[in-house]
């Protein structure tokens, strides 16, 4: 067996024979996914309902936004519901005319519905002219409110779980290997640093892949109802760059810390705030502006964004550039610092 294979095996065995790490990698994040997934299961109701009477391209376009739940109560019943505040708006389509009935009591929802219906109508108008639109319009912001909690919880908790695996795994391995003299022993064996590192990274990737399979499989259960987008596989590069970035952070933590206790404390200090501020448990878009700004400094935010973009939003390959670029840049910079700080033994 090659040194690489046997080291990977040794590390994998060391990993799965450790019940505590298994718990923190698999059970702990899954608990959050299940609890939040169940708590917010009815969060889908937050999706705005819109009454519709009639048919036509505008109605089809409204349905296609996915931003509203279309209901068809009929004209009289619909108007009554709007008046009583049970429906934010009712769109009455009759041939070429599109009329929106709304109640002004709930200004925010009324405004949203107005904006949406007028936007969609204009869009259909432009399409009908066969001319290219004079102004390009992106519907990205509208989509956000359509995310059911499980849709942002899954990528968020998955990224967080992977961050835990990579940061804790890398830092604790490094510290314990240094303390138990394994590093010195490896230094005396004809094996390159690259071989040792890549074996550890491969084990981390394998564990992260299992986490991803488990979390996504659970989220896909009908109780939770995750719906993967068609471009979910584009999340793989984000997944890999994220692992590298967090592995590098783990190496840095491990290079600094002398004891396992210190390393696990430091890893917590790095991962926890990142998890809260980067959209693991709630979409970062609803956070205050300063949180959004701060979160941009965290690799977890970019991993979240990337996972979200492909797992649920179905964005195209061009959306890979930013998250992967940032994560890989993080990897390079942090690894360079870690390599500087690294020592083979406590002196």
């Amino acid at each position: 067996m090659t040194a690489f294979k046997s080291l990977s095996r040794a590390m994998a065995k060391g990993y799965y024979r450790d019940k505590a790490t298994l718990f923190f990698a698999f059970v702990f994040p899954l608990m959050f996914l299940v609890i939040f997934g169940l708590l917010f299961r009815d969060g889908g109701d937050e999706m705005i309902k819109l009454g519709v009477v009639g048919d036509g391209p505008v109605v089809v376009a409204l349905e296609n936004t996915g931003a509203v739940e279309i209901v068809r109560p009929g004209l009289d019943e619909g108007l009554k519901q709007v008046r009583e505040g049970d429906l934010p708006g009712l769109v009455e389509v009759d041939g070429d005319s599109v009329e929106l009935h709304y109640a002004a009591s709930d200004q925010a929802r009324a405004g949203l519905v107005q904006g949406l219906v007028s936007g969609v109508t204009q869009h259909v108008n432009v399409q009908a002219t066969g001319q290219p639109p004079a102004f390009a319009y992106s519907a990205a912001q509208v989509e956000d409110s359509s995310l059911k909690p499980i849709q942002y919880l899954t990528p968020g908790i998955l990224s967080w779980g992977i961050a835990i695996t990579a940061v804790f795994g890398a830092s604790l391995s490094l510290v314990s290997w240094r303390r138990k003299q394994v590093l010195r022993r490896l230094r005396l064996a004809p094996v390159t640093v690259g071989t040792v590192l890549s074996a550890r990274i491969v084990v981390t990737i394998a564990v992260a892949a299992l986490q991803a399979l488990l979390f996504v499989a659970v989220a896909l259960l009908p109780v939770f109802g995750l719906r993967l987008s068609g471009t979910w596989w584009l999340a793989i590069p984000v997944f890999l760059s994220g692992i590298l970035a967090f592995f590098a952070i783990g190496m840095l933590v491990g290079a600094f810390c002398k004891t396992e206790e210190a390393a696990s404390g430091a890893a917590n200090i790095v991962v926890l705030p990142m998890a809260f501020l980067s959209g693991t448990f709630f979409p970062v878009d609803v956070a205050p502006g300063w949180v959004q700004a701060v979160s941009l400094a965290f690799p977890l935010r970019h991993m979240n964004d990337g996972m979200l973009a492909f797992l649920v939003r179905g964005q195209g390959a061009e959306a890979l550039l930013l998250p992967c670029g940032v994560l890989l840049a993080f990897t390079v910079v942090v690894s360079a610092i870690a390599a500087k700080v690294f020592t083979w033994e406590d002196s």
Partner: protein, 303 residues
Amino acid sequence: MTDTTAAIEVEDIRKSYGDLRAVDGVSFSVAEGEFFGILGPNGAGKTTTLEIIEGLREPDSGHVRLLGENPFPRNPGLLPRIGVQLQASAFFEKLTAREQLETFAALYGVDGERAREMLDLVGLAEKADTREEKLSGGQRQRLSIACALVHDPDILFLDEPTAALDPQARRNLWDVLRAIQERGKTIVYTTHYLDEAEILCDRVAIMDHGRVLALDPPASLIRGLDAPTRVSLERGTLGIDDARVLAGADDAHEDEQSLTITTRTPAPLLSALAERGTLDGLQVRTATLEDVFLSLTGREYRA
């Protein structure tokens, strides 16, 4: 040594930690195929010396040639040719004895079969599936030695390999080491057991305070000491004044248990004792490395 096939040449190496001179000007060379021992009390600088030779530490000054090459910084060409058992054993987490050995074997491109042979060699076959953390201190030590042997290195460095071993395991290890030496391999080892060094080593270096105090074959060191032979008898079998005038006797002392006669000519003394029929509890003790150590350091050796 003038030997041209020196496996190790150490020239005036020094290493300080702050004010502490851990190694303070050590020079020696070890010939290929030699069994070389380093003795000395705790903190003498044995481990530091070994680790400098192995290339784990950089000396502050001085030179080391290991198989003709500089071992520091990490010299990948040398690594497959040396086997090292560190004083504190180094193992992968949560692996069984067999898995540890197989992993180390693979690092050196050696197959798993050889790993299992090594377990047999150090008498750990029945512990093959026990996790390293569940082994006893001596078993762990044996595993650590097996890991150092697994790739059949040309030079073997063992830092107190017999420290935690029971007498049976110690003797087994002696046999293993002798067999390795017979195949022409070089062994450098440290120990606190002077009797063991006397039996095993071709030459020993006695260290204290970072310096080599003496370096020779054990027998020469002992002969050079020119220490008297001590013959002791059960107390009361012979009066101390009678003892002093026996043929060959230099001097005599008495303590609570025994009467001890020192002599440089044991043969006439022993026949004089035999003639008188006073051989009860007779013990003859010639000088050992312990006496050498005592005379060099002024300290009793407490292993």
